[in-house]
């Protein structure tokens, strides 16, 4: 592990390349996120947004370049065991919630801290109950994910991520599978986390939300980051014609 200067960003990707078979999905992606920063990744479907997130927590291995999170050189972590401390720091929330259907809501929150991190069940339980209150799901402890609405399931997934006490949370289009009336209840929770200083990397199609919470926006197209900057500038005066065309379509 290398010594990191206090001013260094918490997450740093440098020239990341990734191919699936013969298709090059990431063609040299570089980006950085400061501690406590909230960044959004926007871009057309298939441009590599989810792949970028999966590189950050080591769900996929990269072919070239470096990914650093805090003191972890992610691309050097190959064994499952070595990835545990990274995944302790970097939690992820998915479009399809990815909850454990065979476990209750409370168990979904407590399983990983107990089974993976080896924490005391009683301590984890207390924390889980507090987190369920935070995402406004008190009373649903003993329900199963399949018995909840999409919005509720996604809030459980966020609470499950928080139960790991991470430094960073990656959100991959977490409202894309939700009915419109449930989108805001999930966005409210994320907004609160962002305000509290949690480092967040969000892939999203909610442009208004991105504009509101992000301090930086990255626009991806065909495996490269075409343009990035603070939302006020990026949305008002985009430079790249591809970003212009994209914004015309989605705004």
């Amino acid at each position: 592990m290398t010594q990191v200067q206090p001013s260094a960003p918490l997450i740093e990707l440098r020239d990341v390349h990734k191919s699936f078979g013969s298709i090059e999905v990431l063609k040299g992606v570089s980006m950085s996120v400061r501690d406590g920063g909230v960044v959004c990744i926007i871009g057309p479907s298939g441009s590599g947004k989810s792949t970028i997130l999966r590189c950050i927590n080591g769900l996929i291995t990269i072919d070239r370049g470096t990914v650093r999170v805090g003191s972890f050189a992610v691309e050097t972590l190959t064994k499952d065991k070595h990835l545990v401390p990274l995944r302790h720091e970097v939690a992820m929330v998915f479009q399809q919630y990815n909850l454990f259907p065979h476990r209750t809501v409370l168990q979904n929150l407590t399983m990983a801290p107990v089974q993976v991190l080896g924490e005391k069940p009683a301590v984890v339980r207390e924390r889980a109950l507090a987190l369920l209150a935070k995402v406004r799901l008190t009373g649903k402890e003993n329900a199963y994910p399949g018995e909840l609405s999409g919005g509720q399931q996604q809030r459980v997934a966020i609470a499950r991520a928080l139960a790991m006490q991470p430094r960073v949370i990656l959100f991959d289009e977490v409202t894309a599978a939700l009915d419109p009336e449930m989108v805001s209840e999930v966005l409210n929770v994320i907004r609160e986390l962002a305000r509290e200083g949690m480092t967040c990397v969000l892939v999203t199609h909610e442009m208004r939300f991105a504009q509101e919470v992000a301090d930086e926006i990255f626009f991806t197209d065909k495996g490269v980051i075409v343009e990035h900057g603070p939302p006020a500038r990026l949305f008002k005066s985009p430079n790249d014609p591809r970003l212009k065309a994209f914004l015309d379509k989605v705004l």
Binding site: A91, F94, Q96, P101, H102, Y144, P145
Partner: protein, 235 residues
């Protein structure tokens, strides 16, 4: 044609039948346990891509799934009794053969239906949504922990219906025990037929006996399925 069941009143025949039934049930229960052990371990080897063990597992599955269980039983019986391993009874100090007909039947049932169980459990594991697995991986679960805490519990639930037929098949196949001189219910029936010549009546009764045993087994599986059902999952 009239059916004559007067012989059923004979306490000797009753004892033969009841002993036979309990032996059949015991053979089946032990066979089911072994079947699950083999099925889960084999499916784990295949599912987790365990190096050096994948090919032998596939060969095992093909070998035992695609050949008659009777041939397997005879092969086991003759091969193992030929090796002639013995155990020393700690109570009497006498040496008893390790591979009796009974052991061979249990082994054979466990292997034959276990090979089928490997494939059944594997298909259950494959039906676990990849998102659920990814959720576990993102939380730091290792490949093995993911299998143990997420894939197996869900996969086993998903494969209950085909597993129920496999259990019924095992119970039916246990009737081969008679051919290696194990006193199961078929053996009792054969003895009674030899003495009473009431072949039709005896076979009719045995038919009903198997129907009841498999019926109870299916009922138990249904109870288990209901008890472990995941609320709100699937249908």
């Amino acid at each position: 044609m009239t059916l004559d069941y007067a012989w059923l009143l004979d306490p000797l025949y009753q004892r033969w039948l009841l002993n036979g039934i309990s032996t059949t049930v015991l053979l089946s229960l032990l066979g089911i346990v072994l079947m699950f052990v083999i099925g889960i371990i084999g499916a784990a080897f295949l599912h987790l891509n365990v190096r050096y063990l994948q090919t032998p597992t596939t060969i095992f599955v093909e070998l035992f799934r695609n050949t008659p269980p009777l041939v397997q039983l005879f092969f086991l019986y003759f091969m193992l009794s030929d090796i002639g391993l013995t155990l020393t009874d700690p109570a009497t100090g006498r040496s008893i053969p390790l591979f009796t007909g009974f052991t061979c039947v249990v082994l054979s049932l466990g292997l034959y239906n276990g090979a089928i169980a490997v494939e059944i459990i594997r298909s259950g594991l494959l039906a676990v949504p990849s998102q659920t697995v990814e959720g576990a991986r993102a939380l730091g679960y290792t490949r093995l922990q993911t299998f143990r805490h997420v894939e197996l519990p869900i996969g086993l639930r998903l494969c209950i219906p085909p597993m129920a037929s496999n259990i019924v098949s095992l119970i039916k196949t246990s009737s081969q025990a008679v051919l290696v001189a194990v006193a199961d219910v078929m053996y009792g029936a054969t003895q009674i037929m030899l003495e009473t010549f009431r072949n039709l009546e005896v076979m009719l009764l045995i038919w009903v006996v198997y129907l009841v045993i498999t019926g109870v087994a299916v009922l138990i599986v249904r109870r288990i399925a209901a008890a472990v059902r995941i609320p709100g999952y699937g249908s």
